[in-house]
């Protein structure tokens, strides 16, 4: 196993009767960006906590850079950088002070740590804010500083637990660019959890979708989307009964049909070419759609395919607990017909 690899072997985490992670296995190659995608409460952060030595697995094994997360926790901490979902900063301290202490704890001299702090503050564009306490930073600035804290010791492997949650679009793109650059320039292995589909699509070489404590699917985003077929026609009706009738009318024209509430999704290659035929067939049966769109497959469709529910619905279920705004999620390319 190389120094940049991560491996999870049947990881299980139970809290009393509740199973937060249930038999999760995957491997991340050195220098890869691995997206760990799932709604709130799916088990992403618990998996990260086990792999970063903050929590013990109930069962199973985790290896980070070849080190066992249970028996060689100190070595794991030395080679891995971690930016947790909850930003861990002392609000009364200043950014340079925090980064310097972090560097010194990782064995740098004070001078080395100060130089590194200056370098990282420039990297995350916080150089001009070093004179104010971190408590006065905006959410985006705090997230950027937290990322800098994780990079102080130049880790081989970087764990980013929902690094862009709560950020404005510009800050998110900044973080994305930095993640790409760290991976490209330094060959850093990056384990990225996210609840944003577009983020996983944008950044990850490979993804695993976790839902209700278990991994549902794993692979390259393009492969997973391609496996669904190239396009789908989505027809929405006012009544549930119309959806059933539409299914009877047009199923034979498509490779695969899926019903999602009042919308029927019709999958086949070059679906755009037969839109007129579909409209005519429905019209002939006296069915009047309220909307018709043409969609190229997205990770949302992959999620629907493997879990039977929309990513957005799962996220909404968790919204009151997490305070996350319903409907804020990533979408793939979607165009109207």
């Amino acid at each position: 196993m190389s120094s940049g690899e991560i491996r999870a072997e049947n990881l299980i985490k139970r809290y009393g009767e509740f199973t937060a992670v249930n038999g999760v296995s995957f491997s991340v190659k050195s220098g890869e960006i691995f997206g760990f995608l799932g709604p709130n409460g799916a088990g992403k952060s618990t998996t990260v906590k086990m792999l970063t030595t903050l929590a013990l697995p109930t069962e199973g094994r985790g290896l980070v850079g070849g080190y066992d997360v249970v028996t060689q926790a100190g070595d794991v901490r030395r080679i891995a950088g971690v930016a947790l979902q909850e930003i861990g900063l002392d609000n009364l301290m200043k950014s340079t002070e925090l980064l310097t202490i972090q560097g010194q704890l990782f064995g740098m001299t004070r001078r080395q740590a100060q130089d590194r702090a200056a370098e990282l503050l420039a990297l995350v564009k916080l150089t001009e804010f070093t004179d104010r306490p971190v408590g006065k930073y905006s959410g985006g600035m705090r997230r950027r500083l937290d990322l800098a804290m994780a990079l102080v010791h130049q880790p081989e492997i970087l764990f980013l637990d929902e690094p862009t949650t709560g950020l404005d679009p510009a800050s998110r793109r900044d973080i994305w660019a930095e993640v790409r650059r760290l991976n490209r320039d330094f060959g850093m292995t990056i384990f990225l959890t996210t609840q944003y589909l577009e983020e996983a699509d944008e950044l990850a070489d490979r993804i695993a979708i976790i839902d209700r404590a278990q991994i549902r699917v794993e692979g390259q985003p393009a492969e997973l989307k391609a496996a669904l077929g190239s396009e789908s026609i989505n027809v929405t009706f006012r009544e549930d009964g119309d959806v059933q009738r539409a299914q009877d009318e047009v199923t034979e024209m498509f490779d695969r049909v899926q019903i999602d509430r009042k919308t029927i999704r019709l999958y086949r290659n070059k679906a755009a070419e037969i839109i007129p035929a579909v409209v005519n067939r429905l019209s002939g049966a006296g069915l009047e759609p309220v909307a018709l769109t043409l969609t190229t497959p997205t990770l949302d469709d992959v999620f629907l395919q493997v879990t039977g529910a929309r990513f957005e619905e799962d996220a909404k279920d968790e919204a009151p607990k997490s305070g996350r705004r319903p409907g804020r999620r990533g979408f793939g390319q979607r165009k109207s017909a």
Binding site: T52, T53, L54, A55, L56, A73, G74, R77, R78, V82, L84, E86, I87, G88, L89, D90, N91, L92, M93, E97, I101, Q102, G103, Q104, L105, F106, G107, M108, T109, Q112, R116, E119, L120, A122, L123, V124, K125, P133, M149, H153, Q154, D174, A177, E178, R181, D185, F186, G187
Partner: protein, 273 residues
């Protein structure tokens, strides 16, 4: 974003050495100190309370105290009580610092570094004691302004501050233990008041010999009695080795018990679950 200028190899080679334990402790103490100094609301109340006690007790009781102190200074008698009060009310500084770290997630961030766990405990405790010593210095200065003339001179005053420092480390251990076990600011703040009865179940306003009944029994088993006695002897009588040793011993005994309490709290908090 700007690009990192250095190469991976250039930085990765630096953090191989392990930071010495004492340096880790001093770093943790330093950050607790500066963060508390930045919030005057943490430091000023204990100082005001101590100064208030000194001023009020000295003004109201110094006349009446002539008959039992036989010419000794009442200021020298009551100043140790102010110092102990400061230690009690200032003891929550270390605990509150740890609670703040737990609440804002910085404690977890530290747990992800190779920091020695004991440094997380000792740093805030030492910082709390240093703050207490600084507060004691101010209270002693106030007593000097009110006319205190210690029998043992400047050295005696330093000894009183030293005892206060020891006492501060001990009391800090108590609040740190609560902070680590509960991770709750209100519980930590409330817990520091649990020790307040100790400063009254003793020879608070009159010498131990004048106490009778249950309060004398309580004072006998209360380590604060011996700490007050040592400070008072230094200020009003002189260098009495036996009494001072008993006071310092009480401080150490209290400190050891409360350090064990804090350490087991740290073990419970940092044990991976």
């Amino acid at each position: 974003m700007a690009a990192i200028a250095t190469t991976r190899a250039g930085i990765a080679s630096a953090p191989v050495e392990r930071t010495p334990f004492l340096l880790q402790v001093s770093m943790m103490a330093w950050r607790t100190l500066i963060t508390n100094i930045r919030v005057p609301g943490v430091i000023l109340p204990p100082l005001i309370i101590s100064g208030f006690f000194l001023l009020v007790y000295n003004s109201t009781l110094s006349g009446a105290a002539n008959f039992f102190l036989r010419g000794q200074s009442y200021l020298g008698f009551i100043l140790p009580l102010s110092v102990v009060s400061a230690a009690l009310s200032g003891a929550s500084v270390a605990g509150q610092s740890i609670v703040r770290d737990i609440e804002n997630g910085y404690f977890d961030k530290l747990m992800l570094t190779p920091v020695n766990r004991a440094a997380l405990l000792l740093g805030p405790m030492i910082a709390g004691a240093i703050l207490l010593a600084m507060q004691t210095l101010v209270v002693v200065a106030m007593a000097l302004l009110l006319g205190l003339q210690p029998e043992t001179g400047a050295l005696g005053l330093l000894a009183v501050i030293g005892i206060a420092l020891l006492l501060g480390v001990g009391f800090s251990g108590f609040t740190v233990g609560i902070a680590l076990r509960t991770g709750n600011a209100a519980a930590t703040s409330g817990a520091s008041f649990l020790f307040f009865p100790l400063s009254f179940l003793t020879a608070t306003f009159v010498p131990y010999d004048l106490l009778t009944g249950w309060i004398q029994t309580a004072a006998f088993v209360n380590p604060i009695t011996y700490i007050l006695d040592a400070m008072r002897t230094i200020l009003n009588i002189g260098w009495d080795g036996e009494i001072i040793l008993r006071g310092v011993g009480s401080c150490l005994a209290l400190g050891i018990v409360l350090f064990i309490w804090a350490y087991t709290g740290l073990r419970a908090r940092t044990k991976r679950k």
